[in-house]
Amino acid sequence: MKRQWLSRWSFLILLLLFSLLLAGCWDYHELENLFIVTGVGLDQVADSDKEEDPDKEANTEKMDVTLQIGKTQSPSTGSSDTGTQKSSAILLKTAKDTTMESIMQLDQDSSRTMLLHHNQVMLLGRDLAKSGIENRIDAFLRNQQMRMEVLVMVADRRAEDILAAELEEEEISSMYLYGMMQDLYNVSPHYKIRMLDFVSRLRDGTSSAVAPIVELVEQEDKERLKLKGMAIFKKDKMVGSLSSQEMQGYIWTMGNVKQGALAAQTDLGRAVFRIVKLEAKRDIGLNPNGSIRGTISVYATLALTELRGFSGMTPLELMPYLVTLSENEIKRQIRDAFKVAQELDADIYRFGLDFHRRHPKVWKTIEEQWDQLFREMDLDLQVKVKLPATGQIAKSLEMEEPKP
């Protein structure tokens, strides 16, 4: 009897020991055996490859997947040959049907395991974005290693060129892109498009997704990355883009702007304002004739930062003039962006979602024809600007003294 009891206990202890020893080291990875992936680029298969292998043309499913990997260097060797150091990023490229297949292939071919948790940015090549991406990004949503916080961006040409860019400011281009978006995030949260934001727009049916466009510019033998507006997606296909100016209009429409600049030009001169705070209130309703009416009220607090011209005006005359001037400029830019969106039938402002929330019953009847309704929608735009101060000086050097 006692012996049985003993053996039972012994077996239990054995099981506990095994559970520690066998389940241990499950996810164990030494850092030096990891490739830290900082950026993923998806491109349509390059033309040159197609010519080499005609079979590939038939298979349109294939795409080029480029992984950018931050190179790690031991400090002792790194310090000795800083002169010969070329780039601190490694690019691995392969073409497979899906993203994960490509990553697995690259994993197999390289000496280390891919660590995808620290992926900063997912870059879509322009051509790929135009051909539709719904069937390309499943891995980014399904896989636990791929975070939903990863930035989504569109490359002006090919994503791999952006990832390969050698920049002065930052050794790894995707870290630079991340820093750039983080900086813009301080201006307005609507600049930074994460995978989460991107997909939620794709999912809600009527809204159109946007993503910043990055452009590789060569200036005096140096490569630079620039933000060149925003790509507009209709469903999952890129259909057009907003220019830098129009992008600003879009951002203002969305409100919650904490920084930024605004320049306005008239015959009298040029005024530059700094945005201290810009809020936008949106209202959407149904007109009696069945069309949609959207109201956007923008409340902005500006600060005057630079003036040129306006000679012959006293500060007292100037300030109300500047207020209307800036109001008109804001209106103009917002309307420009809205026009582009309407032309593309792309509801980038998520008016459809707003309408759905406010009038859920009506929404069911008009959901089908939303694109047309959006195209014909009136925008009632009201802009209120507060310009509380003139800055450190009241009048510029060009302006005349006020008559006593």
Binding site: W9, F11, A23, Y28, H29, G70, T72, H118, R147
Partner: protein
């Protein structure tokens, strides 16, 4: 087969059985057999321990020895014989009386007596002694006369047993034997070279008393008495150790300390059956509640103010002759985080430092384990930039991260141990060499990464914040590192949970070890140190009676302003009256 069994080290497992099991590939039975053996050994130990805990009653091995004979020579012969004829045993023959008619002997041990006391207290009075009335006869009368009228010493007592004489001589007293008397006299002449009261090396303070205990138990008792001038401060002497016959004293406040704890301490001291007590650590190991736990359940200190504070909180102090370290029981976990200076500096800063100590303690246990877990399991937890700098440092280092940090922790322990044992000037050289080699050379040689060095360094420095828990932290640190290398964060949290459960289950002399940190209202002196006027209660669970220290009152804020207001009121009253009169 039986003969085999006897010589085989695993008693109970016959090798033939083993061979058979291995041949048959019955691994399950084999493992059960081996683990069963381990289990039996452990349960044997457990039974022995239970048996030990059951034993009660004091152990008294003092040989009473035979009674004294009338002939001096016989007595002296017995003493010489039983003190192993040692050369430091001095027998000084005496002849005294008006006509030198009495002969006797003075017996003492050289070096343990005060020569001045012997000259002035025994030799000179005996020589000058002229009995006023008739001569007392040799016998008890003579001894009484000597004790009462002749000998000049603080402590004189008659003794009739030769065993007692041996013991007293060994404690530094002098025996005076007279021929023809069956009793002798023991005169207190203790006096030997001893260290004077000085600043303790292990517990230095910026603000607070600098005196520390010495190796002399009488001095130590007096040092505590000087702090607590209360009649209720009870001192009790026990003698422990078959051969060392060490004086052990219990000190506690009779009207505060828990009688159960006092009885328990006495009971545990009573069942000690040991050869010698050379340091209070011997006592601690025999009376502590959890001998296999990394946490100590008996406190100790080298400073009288600390021990006085402990006694005032209702604890029992255990003083041991021959060591400056005094034990206190019961001990709480929180005690390790309290220092005397917490109560001597103002409460705001004291609380801040207290919290720092908790953080430091957690760092000293978990920092290397966290580093291992984060870098080898949870890379996604580390910010990207930091990950790159760690990865850069890891690049080209030859060992896995566990081995790397284990090596550094090991090297640190070596350096610490070397630094402690060596004399101070050499110790400094060691620390410089250690810091240079470990901190710089190892990194630039590419043996270890800089982040490991930083982690181990902060761990090492943090461990000095709570010196009382240093040994527990050193053990737990290694355990946590191994757990972290197995299962990452999961292992660390399981380990931490196990440690917490263990801490929660510990008891020290019937008082829960985690008192003060547990979910009670007794938090005045835990994470923060409340102002002294707020802490009017002694810690819960330790004292039995008089749990309140004093009356609660809030000291007057801005006393000068209050005075001013009063005087203003008086001034205002004057004109008003005058105005009313007008």
């Amino acid at each position: 087969m039986i003969a085999n069994a006897r010589f085989f080290p695993f008693s109970g497992i016959v090798p033939n059985d083993l061979v058979m099991l291995i041949k048959n590939n019955s691994w399950k039975e084999l493992s059960i057999l081996l683990l069963g053996f381990l289990f039996r050994k452990l349960s044997f130990l457990g039974n022995q321990y239970a048996l030990y805990r059951k034993t009660t009653g004091p152990y008294d091995d003092r040989t009473k020895g035979p009674g004294m004979e009338k002939e001096l020579t016989k007595n002296l012969a017995y003493l010489k014989d039983n003190l192993s004829d040692s050369c430091d045993l001095k027998v000084h023959p005496l002849e005294f009386g008006p006509k030198n008619q009495w002969s006797g002997a003075m017996v003492f041990i050289e070096g343990m007596i005060d020569n001045g006391k012997i000259t002035d207290g025994i030799l000179r009075p005996l020589k000058d002694w002229r009995p006023e009335s008739k001569m007392p006869a040799a016998g008890d009368g003579l001894i009484n006369e000597l004790a009462k009228k002749v000998i000049c010493a603080g402590s004189v007592k008659p003794v009739a047993s030769l065993g007692d004489i041996i013991l007293e001589c060994l404690s530094g007293n002098t025996a005076v034997l007279v021929d023809g008397c069956a009793t002798g006299l023991i005169i207190g002449t203790k006096g030997w070279e001893k260290r004077s009261v000085s600043e303790p090396q292990s517990e230095t303070v910026i603000r607070g008393p600098r005196e520390g205990f010495t190796e002399n138990i009488c001095n130590n008792t007096a040092l505590i008495r000087r702090k607590i001038r209360s009649g209720r401060l009870h001192v009790e002497n026990l003698i422990v150790g078959r051969r060392s016959q060490t004086d052990v004293r219990l000190m506690y406040l009779e009207d505060v300390a828990s009688h159960e704890v006092v009885a328990e301490v006495k009971k545990r001291l009573g069942r000690l059956d040991v050869d010698a007590i050379l340091e209070s650590g011997y006592i601690e190991e025999y009376i502590e509640d959890a001998p296999f736990s990394p946490f100590s359940t008996v406190g100790y200190s080298e400073k009288p103010d600390v021990i006085a504070a402990q006694i005032l909180e209702g604890r029992v102090a255990i003083l041991v002759d021959g060591t400056p370290f005094v034990l206190t029981a019961p001990m709480l976990f929180i005690e390790s985080f309290q220092t005397t200076e917490d109560y001597y500096t103002r409460p705001l800063y004291a609380s801040l430092v207290r919290m720092l100590r908790f953080v430091g303690y957690l760092i000293s246990i978990f920092a290397p384990a966290l580093y291992i877990a984060l870098t080898s399991f949870h890379q996604e937890f580390i910010p990207t930039t930091l990950l790159f700098s760690i990865a850069n440092a890891r690049e080209g280092t030859p060992f896995p991260v566990l081995l790397e940090s284990m090596g550094m922790v090991f090297a640190f322990e070596i350096l610490r141990e070397a630094g402690i044992r060596l004399p101070r000037p050499v110790g400094q050289a060691i620390s410089i060499v250690g810091a240079l080699i470990m901190g710089d050379a190892a990194v630039s040689a590419g043996l270890v990464g800089a982040p490991v060095v930083i982690t181990v360094a902060i761990t090492a420095v943090a461990s000095f914040l709570v010196p009382a828990q240093n040994d527990a932290a050193s053990v737990l640190r290694v355990v946590m590192m191994v757990l972290a290398s197995f299962t990452g964060w999961y292992g660390i949290s399981m380990g931490a949970l196990a440690v917490l459960m263990h801490l929660g289950s510990l008891n020290s002399f019937g008082v829960p070890y985690f008192n003060g940190l547990a979910w009670t209202r007794d938090q005045e002196d835990t994470i923060v140190r409340m102002p002294l006027w707020f802490m009017i209660r002694r810690p819960q669970g330790i004292p039995e009676n008089n749990t309140v220290r004093g009356r609660f009152f809030i000291p007057v804020f801005r006393p000068h302003e209050v005075l001013d207001e009063d005087s203003e009121d008086e001034q205002e009253e004057g004109p008003k009256e005058r105005g009313a009169g007008a």
